[in-house]
Symmetry: C2
């Protein structure tokens, strides 16, 4: 599959979902290189918009995301990765998921 | 919660997830107005990048997304909406989810 990177300045959003629980762990962005690295290595790679560079999730923390399934949308402009989250937490705060607050800022019970 | 619309030209990605099954149904983009309309109406609104305008999901198809929960990420730059999908399909192809193919283009079994 060829992804369409044209709609968002060379990027596509990637939804990272726990392969077992279907919890959404994080959303990242991929450029063409990050997409290809993810396909080749079966480990989630992203393009950091703030650092302006390719990175592998877990490259410093060890919290690698091992890709079990890749699912592509109808327009080829976003992907879902079903992953095994090494270390059990995807978020830099140490939480399991980056999605842990409701619209009032209250911490939620249960899974995103 | 104030969302950060600055990182992506005034937009944030919104992951739409079935509230019952946790299946990812689609990914859309919201600007400030779409975000506020979603909060006010509890129906998913997006900003169309191709049509350059606000739209409510289901405004023509009737396949409205009734928002049951809103979950915000650590950086306040993306959201998950847990929805009840009216009509049972989120995708313009008639499928339940926009995510229905793997990286080889094969239709997947089961849920995204």
């Amino acid at each position: 599959m060829e992804m369409n990177f044209d709609k968002l300045d060379g990027l596509i959003p990637a939804v990272i979902q726990d392969a077992q629980t279907s919890e959404v762990l994080m959303v990242g962005f991929m450029n063409q290189e990050a997409w290809e690295k993810t396909l080749q290595t079966r480990k989630a790679h992203f393009f950091s918009r703030t650092r302006n560079r390719l990175w592998m999730k877990g490259e410093t923390s060890g919290h690698v995301q091992e890709v079990e399934r890749i699912i592509i949308d109808c327009d080829e402009d976003s992907v879902v990765l079903k992953v095994r989250q090494v270390g059990g937490s995807a978020c830099h705060t140490g939480k399991r998921s980056c999605f842990y607050r409701d619209e009032k800022g209250e911490e939620i019970d249960g899974a995103a």
